[in-house]
Symmetry: C2
Subunit: 367 residues, 2 copies
C-alpha cells in the first residue's frame, strides 16, 4: 500500500504550488492539542497575520478548516437569506461555481456572463440589478489567468455587500480588502501563500456580519459559532469548542505567513510581478500566444494557447514524466486548447521561470 | 510572529492524539499536484485502506476534505430530505450535535435522550418512531467514554437508514460497518487512526446513496460531485475536478492507515483494549472513580470523576506545564467534574499508560 517512490515535483500548475520550506517543516512539528495555550497562540498569530495579507482590520478573520471551495460556501451560506438577489460576475469557472453555491443557499442569482479571458466589466455588473443584496466577483480567475478591478466594484456597490474570491490573489498581488470595500472574502492556502491545501483564509466585516443568517444551513461553517472558536468573542483568549482545529495545517499556515511577512508583503508582490513578466515574455519569445486579455494578466498564473497541432495532454505528460514539471490544463471548454502555468508563492522565482521555459521548449521540440 | 519554542506534548486528551511517526513524516513529503497520477494512486490506496478500517466494501468510501464534524454534516446534508423524520440517540455531546445538524438540513428530529455515561438504549431508540427515514447514533461517545451497540441497531432498523458517528471508534475498537448494517458513517483522523486532524473518513452504501438528496444544500459536501473526485464514477482512474484535495493530509492518512494495517487491524484493537484496561485499573488503584457505565467503557477514551475538592483545571494545567501531559476536561455539564483520558492510536501503549498514571499521581499530590 505504501508508495514505491517519493516524487519531487515542480508544481507550476494552477495550484497547489510548492510550499515554502518553513511551511513544510511546520507540518511535521509535534502536534499540539487544539485547546493547548501554545496552539491558541499559533491560531491568534495566524489570524493576525491573515489580517495583514488580506489588508483588513476585520476581527473576524480566520482560517476555515477546509479548502478554498469551502471558503466560498462559508461566504454564501452565512450571508444569503432565502430569495436574496445575488449578482455574480462570471468570467470563468469560479464565477460559475459561485452561481451554483449561491443558488443552493436560496439566492435568486443574476449571472453576468463574460467571455473567458476578459476581466469583469464593472459597469455591466453594477447595472445588472437595481438593488442586489450581494455582488460577487473573483479577483484573480484561476481558470483564465485574469485580474479584475475589485476596487471599482467596491467604490460603487451602494448598499450591496461585496463578496470576493481571493483564492489565487492573496499573497501574490495587491489585495486591500478594507480599502477596496470588500465585505466578505475567502481564499486558499495552496497558491501564493505557499502552504499545502487544506484551509480557507476568510474575512468578514461588521457590516456583513450584522446582516448574516442567524442559523445558517451549515453548522460546520456557521460564523456565529466559529467566532468563539478563534477567540474573537472574548478578547481574552476564552474559546468555545466548536470543532477540532486542523492543528498541523494551521501551524503550517502560520509559518508560511511569517515567511511572507518577513520578506515583506510588497516585496512578495513585486517578486510575483517580476516572475510573471519574465515568464510571459519568455513564452512569447517561444512563439506562443497568451490567452488572457492584455493589461489584465495575472503574474502568478499565466494562460497560454496550445499551438495548433500540438497534443496538449501529451506535452503535459512529457513535462511531468521527463522533468517532474507540472503545468495545468485549461479549464472548462479550454481544457485542450490552453495551458495554465503558475509561479506562485515559493515558485515565484527567476530559476523557476528558467526551468519551466526550458522544459516547455524541450517538450515542444518533442511534440 | 514565530513561536518561541516547539512544545512536544503527550496528547492524552480526547484528541488529537500524537500521530504515528509514519503519518508525521508523510506530512512533510514534497507536495504533489492533486491530479498527479502519483497522488491519485495515493488517494486510491487511501480509499481502499479506509474500506478495511471501516469494515466495508462500499465503493463510496473516501476522506472528506475537512474535519470529522464536517463528516457529520456530509452525512446529514446528503441524506435528509425536508421533513424527514430522523431519530437521534442522544447520550452525549455528539448526539446533541447530530440533532442540530439534522435540523438545519430540514429534518423533523426525534431526540431520544439518555443519561450521560450510559450507552444507547436500543429498544427505546427503535420504539421512538414507527417509520423514521434515518436512525442516527454515536458508536463511541467522545464526551462520555461510552460504547454503544451499533450492531443491535442495525439488525432492527427496518427500512430506516442507519447513520453512525465512528469518530472515536475507527481504528481503535471493533467496527464492522457492513456486518452491522451501517448505511452511512463518518469519522475523524486525529483519534485512533493516529493522524493529524483535518480529514473525515466517510462511507455510504448504495442503499443510502440511492435515496440521497440530488442537489444538497452544500456544494462542498455534495456526494454526487465527490464521487467523480475520488474516481469512483469511472473505475479507470478518470477524475472530475471538484475541489483541490488537501494533498498533504491525504498522504499522511495513507501512511497512518498503512501503519495500522501492517500491524494488523485486530492487533491494533487488542493494543487499545489492553492499554485502556491497564489505565482503568490503574485509575481505580489511585482511588479514582470511573464515570462511564461499567461494561460499556471505551478502552481508547476513559472518563474519570474529579475527586471532591480537587480543582480540575488546576490539575490539567499542572500536568501540561510540568510534564507536557495533556488530558481533557469533561464535556458539557461535566466540564469541571470529569476528566477524559485518551490512549488512542500511537498512544495506545503500555509506556503511555505508565506515564499518564504517574503524572496524574504527581498532580494529585500537588493539588
Amino acid at each position: 500500500m505504501t508508495s514505491a517512490r517519493i516524487h519531487e515535483r515542480h508544481l507550476f500548475g494552477p495550484g497547489p504550488s510548492n510550499a515554502y520550506p518553513e511551511a513544510t517543516l511546520a507540518l511535521a512539528a509535534p502536534l499540539l492539542g487544539h485547546l493547548d495555550p501554545a496552539f491558541l497562540a499559533i491560531m491568534d498569530g495566524t489570524c493576525e497575520m491573515l489580517r495583514r495579507v488580506w489588508g483588513t482590520e476585520n476581527a473576524r478573520t480566520l482560517p476555515i478548516s477546509a479548502t478554498g471551495s469551502a471558503g466560498m460556501e462559508a461566504a454564501f451560506v452565512n450571508t444569503v437569506h432565502p430569495g436574496d438577489v445575488v449578482v455574480v460576475a462570471v468570467n470563468g469557472l469560479f464565477g460559475q461555481r459561485m452561481c451554483d453555491v449561491a443558488a443552493r443557499c436560496g439566492a435568486e442569482v443574476v449571472a453576468v456572463e463574460h467571455e473567458w479571458g476578459q476581466p469583469v466589466d464593472v459597469e455591466r455588473v453594477l447595472g445588472a440589478h437595481a438593488a442586489p443584496a450581494i455582488i460577487a466577483a473573483v479577483h484573480a480567475e484561476t481558470s483564465t489567468g485574469v485580474r479584475s478591478d475589485i476596487a471599482a466594484l467596491g467604490a460603487a456597490k451602494g448598499d450591496a455587500l461585496l463578496l470576493v474570491d481571493a483564492v489565487t490573489s492573496i499573497g501574490g498581488i495587491e489585495l486591500r480588502a478594507d480599502d477596496w470595500g470588500v465585505d466578505i472574502g475567502y481564499a486558499g492556502t495552496q497558491k501564493c501563500l505557499g502552504v499545502a491545501p487544506g484551509l480557507a483564509p476568510f474575512t468578514i466585516n461588521d457590516r456583513a456580519f450584522d446582516r448574516r443568517v442567524e442559523r445558517p444551513r451549515s453548522w460546520y461553517l456557521d460564523l456565529g459559532l466559529l467566532g468563539g472558536y478563534v477567540g474573537e468573542a472574548s478578547g481574552s483568549g476564552g474559546r468555545t469548542y466548536h470543532h477540532t482545529a486542523p492543528v498541523a495545517m494551521v501551524a503550517s499556515l502560520h509559518a508560511g505567513l511569517a515567511r511572507i511577512l518577513d520578506e515583506g508583503l510588497e516585496a512578495v508582490w513585486a517578486r510575483h510581478e517580476a516572475a510573471g513578466r519574465q515568464l510571459q515574455e519568455g513564452l512569447e519569445e517561444l512563439g506562443l500566444e497568451l490567452f488572457a486579455a492584455e493589461g489584465h494578466r495575472l503574474p502568478e498564473l499565466t494562460t497560454v494557447k496550445v499551438p495548433d497541432g500540438v497534443d496538449s495532454a501529451a506535452v503535459r505528460r512529457y513535462l511531468l514524466e521527463t522533468h517532474d514539471v507540472e503545468i495545468g490544463a485549461g479549464a472548462g471548454a479550454y481544457a485542450g486548447s490552453v495551458w495554465r502555468i503558475g509561479l506562485m508563492g515559493h515558485n515565484a522565482r527567476p530559476d523557476a521561470v528558467l526551468l519551466v521555459l526550458a522544459a516547455l521548449r524541450d517538450a515542444l521540440a518533442h511534440a
